[in-house]
Subunit: 174 residues, 2 copies
């Protein structure tokens, strides 16, 4: 199973592709950060993010796209841009019929570190360990995108097993 994780943002949008399945070692396919300048107009910035994600979907053909769920507890300006970047990622994936899932930051932290309140350094350390990398991915947006992809590899499989179990139980009851 191959997942593209997207840590959405206008100034820095983290993209990370991970291959894996639960109980097996995970592997890093690609990681990068798309940057757009705050000096540029919003439309041009969203176009650049759209182009980058289109290119990644072409190159890496993920089964699923996992996007961080945006909350508005942060700075207002930042949150609007983050929501718009996440909208573009969702739109581009939906256009190709690729399933889009969202995870909250605390779900992602809990998945990779065991604690929903882990800090950035802890998440980066676990991403480095789980993907058996020599150096920590940086900046944090890159490491967060990989953590999202890992979270989806694990949680997505659990969800599919639960759905399968529920379907099987339904068949037995009938």
């Amino acid at each position: 199973m191959r997942v593209l994780g997207v840590d959405p943002g206008l100034t820095r949008c983290g993209l990370g592709v991970v291959d894996g399945m639960p109980g097996r070692p995970l592997s890093l396919v690609a990681v990068d950060v798309v940057r757009t300048s705050a000096q540029d107009e919003l439309g041009g910035r969203l176009l650049a993010i759209e182009a980058a994600i289109e290119q990644w979907l072409d190159r890496f053909a993920p089964d699923t796209v996992a996007v961080e769920r945006v909350f508005s507890q942060h700075n207002v300006r930042t949150v609007m841009g983050t929501a718009q970047a996440s909208g573009v990622a969702t739109l581009v994936a939906a256009r190709r019929g690729i399933p889009v899932v969202t995870h909250t930051p605390s779900e992602v932290k809990a998945a990779v570190s065991g604690s929903g309140r882990a800090d950035k350094a802890q998440v980066a350390a676990m991403v480095t360990r789980l993907l058996r990398l020599d150096v920590r991915p940086s900046p944090a947006d890159a490491s967060d995108a990989l953590a999202l992809a890992i979270c989806q590899v694990w949680r997505g499989s659990a969800q599919r097993r639960l759905q399968a179990a529920a379907a099987a139980a339904g068949r037995e009851r009938r």
Copy 2:
């Protein structure tokens, strides 16, 4: 000058096209509300909004797209959807090289009614009067989209005159 006003939203996205120039009567070209179901997945909803706006740009060929500037003082879930819908509108216009401008709700209210604190009914009443309509556009998203377009017809022209005056003054000083 022809402006497409977009009152962004996932459940209801208001679209209104107005022709006009300052000091001349305004005229309504088209108004509608794009609706998507909260039962549907986000990707599908954003695709539907993208398709509708593409279609309006094809049919009405506006000179400018005016999008309401989103604030996060409202309900968190709503604001995220609104930001994402506004991002899609901005992206679609930018893809065609059509200038995108934003106005805050209070700028729009002040432009059409003289008061930045006008209520929805007052805005709808003024839109009806300014466009010489027989009935008020409804729902509020439709009337808000038209108010945005009217605001841009007037403010955009003022901005262009100011820019021209500044450029002329610059030439004189040199």
